[in-house]
C-alpha cells in the first residue's frame, strides 16, 4: 500500500516536472511569422499629383490588407519613358508574381509584355491602358470620360461656340481615348461646337498659359484631361479677370478640384478616384493570382456639378 502511494506521488511529481520543462521549452521557441502571399511590382507614370498619390496610397493599403508585398516605382514625370523602361526591366528581373504598369507610352508596350511572358509574370495596366497590345486594364473607361465631357459642353454651350481640349502626353492611352471619344460624341450629337485640341500639356503652368491663349481666341468652354490642368484653366480665367465666363470640365476626384466645383469655378468634374483605381488594381491582381480570370475592370465615373455635388459627396 505504501509503495503504491509513493509510486503515485512520484508519478505525479514527474508529470509536473515534464509540464514545467515543456512549458519553459515552449517559451524558448515562440515564433510569430507573417508570410506575404504574393509579390507585386508596380511602375506608375509619376507621383507628382494628388491623383497619383491617391493611386499609390490605394495600392499600398490594399497590399497591406491583402497581405502582399508591393514594390512601387515611378519616374520623375509622365514623360520620362526611358526611366520607366529601366524600372520595368529591373522589376521584371526581380522576384515578382505580377506587374502593374501605367505606361508612359501606350503605343510601345510590346517589349515588356514579351519580357513578362518570358519571366512568367502576370501583367496588368492601371489608369492608362496599352494601345498596341492586349493587357488587362483596371481604371475608369476613358472613352466614357470623353463622351461625358462632350455631352456636358454640348448641352451647356450655345451652338457654334468654340471649345478646347487640353490633353497630356500624346503617347498615352487615356489621352488618345478621351480625345477620340470626345470628338466622336460631338459628331454623334451633331454638335456645332468648334473644337481645338492641344496636346502635351504637362501640368498646371502649361494649362494656365495655354488657356490664356485660348481665351484670347474666344473659347467659351474647355475640357481639361486632368484636374491639375483644370485648375490651371481656372487660374487663367481668374488672372484674366473673367468672372466664370469659361465653362470648365475636368476630371479627377482630387480635393482642390472638388472644392472648385463647390465654389463654381469648375463647372463639371468627371469623377476618377486615384485611390479607388489603385486599390482595385491590387485587389484584381491578387484575385487573378488566387486563380481568378484576366478581365478588364472598369470603375464607374459620373459627372459632378454644382447641382449634384452635395448629393454625391
Amino acid at each position: 500500500m505504501k509503495k503504491r502511494a509513493v509510486k503515485r506521488i512520484a508519478l505525479l511529481m514527474g508529470m509536473l516536472l515534464v509540464v514545467l520543462i515543456s512549458g519553459s521549452g515552449c517559451a524558448q521557441n515562440t515564433m510569430i511569422e507573417e508570410d506575404t502571399r504574393f509579390s507585386i511590382g508596380v511602375v506608375l507614370k509619376a507621383a507628382d499629383s494628388e491623383h497619383w498619390q491617391g493611386i499609390r496610397s490605394g495600392m499600398e493599403n490594399a497590399a497591406k490588407e491583402q497581405n502582399v508585398t508591393l514594390t512601387l516605382l515611378y519616374p520623375q514625370d509622365e514623360w520620362a519613358e526611358d526611366e520607366q523602361r529601366v524600372m520595368i526591366q529591373d522589376l521584371l528581373e526581380s522576384d515578382i508574381d505580377a506587374l502593374i504598369v501605367s505606361p508612359c507610352n501606350s503605343t510601345d508596350t510590346g517589349w515588356f509584355v514579351d519580357l513578362a511572358q518570358e519571366k512568367n509574370v502576370a501583367l496588368f495596366t492601371a489608369d492608362t491602358r496599352s494601345l498596341d497590345r492586349v493587357i488587362p486594364f483596371i481604371g475608369i473607361d476613358n472613352e466614357e470620360v470623353g463622351r461625358l465631357a462632350a455631352r456636358y459642353l454640348h448641352t451647356h454651350l450655345p451652338t457654334g461656340a468654340r471649345i478646347a481640349l487640353l490633353a497630356g502626353a500624346d503617347k498615352q492611352g487615356q489621352t488618345l481615348d478621351r480625345i477620340a471619344s470626345f470628338k466622336a460624341e460631338l459628331e454623334f450629337l451633331e454638335s456645332e461646337l468648334q473644337v481645338t485640341v492641344v496636346k502635351e500639356i504637362k501640368g498646371f503652368s502649361d494649362a494656365l498659359h495655354e488657356t490664356k491663349q485660348l481665351l484670347g481666341e474666344g473659347i467659351s468652354g474647355i475640357f481639361c484631361c486632368s484636374a491639375v490642368m483644370g485648375l490651371g484653366a481656372v487660374a487663367a480665367e481668374q488672372e484674366l479677370g473673367l468672372d466664370d465666363d469659361l465653362c470648365i470640365v475636368t476630371i479627377d476626384s482630387q480635393t482642390d478640384a472638388i472644392k472648385a466645383v463647390q465654389r463654381g469655378t469648375v463647372d463639371a468634374l468627371i469623377t476618377q478616384s486615384g485611390y479607388e483605381v489603385g486599390e482595385m488594381a491590387v485587389k484584381t491582381v491578387v484575385k487573378y493570382l488566387e486563380g481568378g480570370s484576366l478581365d478588364n475592370v472598369y470603375i464607374p465615373c459620373e459627372v459632378l456639378t454644382g447641382n449634384n455635388i452635395n448629393e454625391i459627396s
Binding site: 500500500m1 505504501k2 502511494a5 506521488i9 505525479l12 511529481m13 509536473l16 509540464v19 514545467l20 512549458g23 519553459s24 515552449c26 517559451a27 524558448q28 521557441n29 515562440t30 515564433m31 510569430i32 511569422e33 507573417e34 508570410d35 506575404t36 509579390s39 508585398t69 508591393l70 514594390t71 516605382l73 515611378y74 519616374p75 520623375q76 520620362a80 526611358d82 526611366e83 523602361r85 529601366v86 524600372m87 529591373d90 522589376l91 528581373e93 526581380s94
Partner: protein, 580 residues
C-alpha cells in the same frame, strides 16, 4: 497511513502542486508574453524604419535611373571620351557637374561616373575626383545591366576599409546604344546607421543585413560583413516579418526582423530578454511569499477539512465495533445528506436487519428446542404406555376379554405408529388407517354416538402427507365438536387430487366453535398434560408451514351449531422424498 492523513496529504499535494504549476506558468508565460508583446510592438516601429530605409533606397535608385537616361550625361561622357587632350581640369569639371546633379546631398553620399573608354571613375567628391578602381570594385561599373533594385554593398572604393557604402549603378548608353559609361549613386553606411538604425537605447541593438545575411550596418564594435548567424543563434525564415526569442551573446534575447520588399535588406533588432522582464523578476519574491502563505493556509485548512471528513467515518467505525461486540441497539447519525448519510442509513438498516434475523433465529431455536422436548415427552409417555398396555392386552386375552384386547390392540397400533421414528411422511392411506384405529378407540369411549365417513380417491390415498396430519383434526372434532347427546354425529374425511394439488377436507356436524375457541386451537400448542390430545391443530398447521411454506393452504371454518370444517391443500406427491 490513516484515512485522515491521506486526505491531508492529498489536499496539500494538490494545493502545492497546483499553485506551483500556476506560479511557474504565470511567471514563464508572463515573461515570454512580455518578450513577444514587446517584439510585436517593436515590429511596428521597425516597419517604419524599414519603410524609411526603403524610401531612401528607392529615391536613390530612381535618381540613378533618371540620371542614367539623361541625354546630357551621355553627352558629357562622350565629350570626355572623345577628347584627346583631356586633363585634370576636365575631370574637375565633370566632378563639378556630378555635384550639381546631387540635389539630395543629405541622402546621396557621392556620385560616381565610370567612363568605359578610359576605365576611370570620376567622383562628385572634390577631394578624390579620380578613383582608381580595385578589381573588386570594378564589377558594379562594368556590369552593363546594373543590379536591379538592390544596391551593391561595398567597402569605400577609395580603399578606406572602415567605410561602407550602398551603391546603385546604371549603365549609360550613347544614342547608338553603346555602353559608354556607368553612373553610380552611393549612400553612406554611417549616414544610414545614424539616421535610421541608431536606437539611442541600451536595450535595443539594430543590424542591417544584406540579401546574403551578412551585416552591412550596425553599431560600433560590430564587424561589418560578418554573417549574422555567427552572432545570434536563431534560424530565421525568409518571411517578411518575424519575431522570436533566441540566444545572442549567450543571453536570451527578443529578436524582431523586418525584410525589405525593395532593397532586399533585412532589419534585425535584438533586445536582451532579461532587461525586458527585469521588473517582472523583481516580483518573483512576492510570488514565493504568496506561495508560502498559501501553503500554510492549505495545511490549516487540510487539517480542518480532513477532520470534518473523517468524523462520520470515525463514528461509523465506533458503531461497527459496538455491533461487533454484540450491541445491536446502536445506531449512527449523520447531519448532512451526503454519501456518509447514505452509508449510515445503510449501516443502520443492516444492523436492524441482522438484529431481526438474529431474534428470528433465536425464536426458531427456542421453538425447535421446545418441539424437541415435546417430541421426547411424547416418545417417553407412549413407550411407557405401550409397554404397559401390551401387558394389559395380553392379560385381557388371557382372561378371555377379547373386546378389551382388541381395543387395546388398536390403541397399541396407534401408539406404535406415533413412535415410529422413520420418515416424516406417510401415505394418506396409512393416515386413514391410523384414524380408523383412533376412531375405534373413541367409539368405545363415546358409545358409538358418532360415525365416520371416508371419501378418498385412489390417487389421493397414494399421496404422501406429513405424518399425523389427520389425527389432530379428527381428535379435535371428537373432543370439541361432538354432541354426545346426539347419535347422528358424523365426521367425514374426503380427499382428491386436482391439478397436482391434494385437497383434503375433514369436517364434522357437531357443536362448532366460538371465535375464542377457534383462535385458541389455531394459535396455541396442544396441552401435553392431557392424554391423547394429539399433536394439536396448531402443531399440525405449523408443521405444514415448515414443510410446504407458501405452497400449502390451511383453512378452518366453524360455526356454532353447524360444525367445523378443515380444508387442507398440499402439493400432491406420490414420493416420500419429494413430499416436502
Amino acid at each position: 497511513m490513516t484515512f485522515r492523513l491521506r486526505i491531508m496529504l492529498s489536499i496539500l499535494l494538490v494545493t502545492i502542486s497546483g499553485l506551483s504549476v500556476f506560479f511557474f506558468f504565470t511567471y514563464y508565460v508572463a515573461t515570454d508574453q512580455v518578450g513577444v508583446n514587446y517584439a510585436k510592438s517593436l515590429k511596428g516601429s521597425m516597419q517604419i524604419r524599414m519603410d524609411q530605409i526603403d524610401g531612401d533606397m528607392r529615391e536613390v535608385y530612381q535618381k540613378t535611373v533618371a540620371l542614367s537616361v539623361q541625354p546630357e550625361l551621355s553627352q558629357v561622357i562622350q565629350d570626355y571620351s572623345e577628347d584627346s587632350d583631356r586633363n585634370a581640369d576636365d575631370v574637375i569639371r565633370i566632378s563639378e557637374y556630378l555635384r550639381q546633379q546631387n540635389d539630395s546631398p543629405d541622402l546621396v553620399d557621392a556620385l560616381f561616373l565610370y567612363i568605359t573608354k578610359t576605365e576611370q571613375v570620376i567622383c562628385s567628391q572634390e577631394y578624390r575626383d579620380i578613383i582608381e578602381l580595385q578589381n573588386s570594385s570594378k564589377q558594379p561599373f562594368t556590369t552593363s545591366g546594373g543590379i536591379g533594385l538592390q544596391p551593391w554593398v561595398l567597402s569605400d572604393m577609395s580603399g578606406n576599409e572602415m567605410r561602407m557604402i550602398y551603391l546603385y549603378t546604371k549603365p549609360v548608353y550613347s544614342e547608338t546604344g553603346e555602353h559608354i559609361g556607368t553612373i553610380g549613386l552611393s549612400i553612406s553606411e554611417r549616414a544610414m546607421y545614424f539616421k535610421l538604425l541608431d536606437s539611442k537605447s541600451n536595450t535595443e541593438e539594430y543590424f542591417l543585413l544584406d540579401g546574403a545575411g551578412q551585416i552591412c550596418s550596425a553599431g560600433q564594435g560590430v564587424e561589418l560583413e560578418t554573417p549574422i548567424s555567427e552572432l545570434i543563434d536563431i534560424s530565421w525564415n525568409t518571411s517578411q516579418i518575424a519575431v522570436g526569442i533566441g540566444q545572442y551573446n549567450g543571453k536570451k534575447s527578443v529578436c524582431a526582423m523586418v525584410e525589405s520588399s525593395f532593397s532586399g535588406f533585412t532589419l534585425l533588432c535584438i533586445s536582451e530578454h532579461a532587461e525586458l522582464v527585469r521588473d517582472l523578476k523583481q516580483t518573483q519574491w512576492l510570488y514565493t511569499l504568496v506561495l508560502l502563505a498559501v501553503i500554510i493556509l492549505a495545511v490549516v485548512l487540510a487539517d480542518k477539512i480532513s477532520g470534518t471528513l473523517n468524523k462520520p467515518l470515525k463514528n461509523l467505525m465506533y458503531a461497527m465495533d459496538r455491533v461487533g461486540s454484540g450491541d445491536f441497539g446502536i445506531r449512527t447519525a449523520a447531519v448532512r445528506e451526503d454519501e456518509f448519510f447514505q452509508l449510515n442509513n445503510r449501516f443502520n438498516g443492516m444492523v436492524t436487519q441482522i438484529d431481526g434475523l438474529i431474534s428470528q433465529v433465536i425464536d426458531e431455536q427456542r421453538h425447535a428446542r421446545q418441539a424437541e422436548l415435546n417430541a421426547l415427552q411424547y416418545q417417553i409417555k407412549p413407550h411407557f404406555m405401550y409397554n404397559t398396555l401390551n401387558s394389559i392386552k395380553y392379560m385381557a386375552f388371557m382372561q378371555g376379554n377379547e373386546s378389551l384386547g382388541k381395543q387395546l390392540a388398536s390403541f397399541i397400533e396407534l401408539l406404535e405408529a406415533s413412535l415410529n421414528k422413520g420418515s416424516d411422511f406417510s401415505t394418506l392411506e396409512f393416515e386413514v388407517r391410523l384414524i380408523e384405529d383412533y376412531v375405534s378407540l373413541q367409539m368405545y369411549r363415546y358409545m358409538g354416538c358418532f360415525m365416520m365417513e371416508y371419501d378418498i380417491t385412489d390417487d389421493a390415498n397414494a399421496c404422501y402427507v406429513p405424518r399425523f396430519l389427520l389425527q389432530p383434526l379428527v381428535e379435535n372434532s371428537i373432543l370439541h365438536g361432538m354432541d354426545t347427546k346426539r347419535n347422528d354425529n358424523v365426521i367425514s374425511i374426503s380427499a382428491y387430487v386436482e391439478e397436482g394439488i391434494l385437497h383434503i377436507e375433514a369436517k364434522d356436524n357437531g357443536k362448532g366453535m366460538s371465535e375464542e375457541q377457534k383462535n385458541r386451537i389455531l394459535h396455541q400448542q396442544g396441552d401435553t398434560s392431557r392424554q391423547f390430545n394429539g399433536i394439536g391443530v396448531y402443531n399440525t398447521v405449523e408443521r405444514l408451514r415448515l414443510f410446504y411454506g407458501k405452497k400449502m393452504h390451511v383453512e378452518m371454518q366453524t360455526e356454532m351449531g353447524i360444525g367445523t370444517r378443515y380444508i387442507i391443500e398440499l402439493p400432491a406427491s406420490q414420493e416420500a422424498e419429494g413430499a416436502g
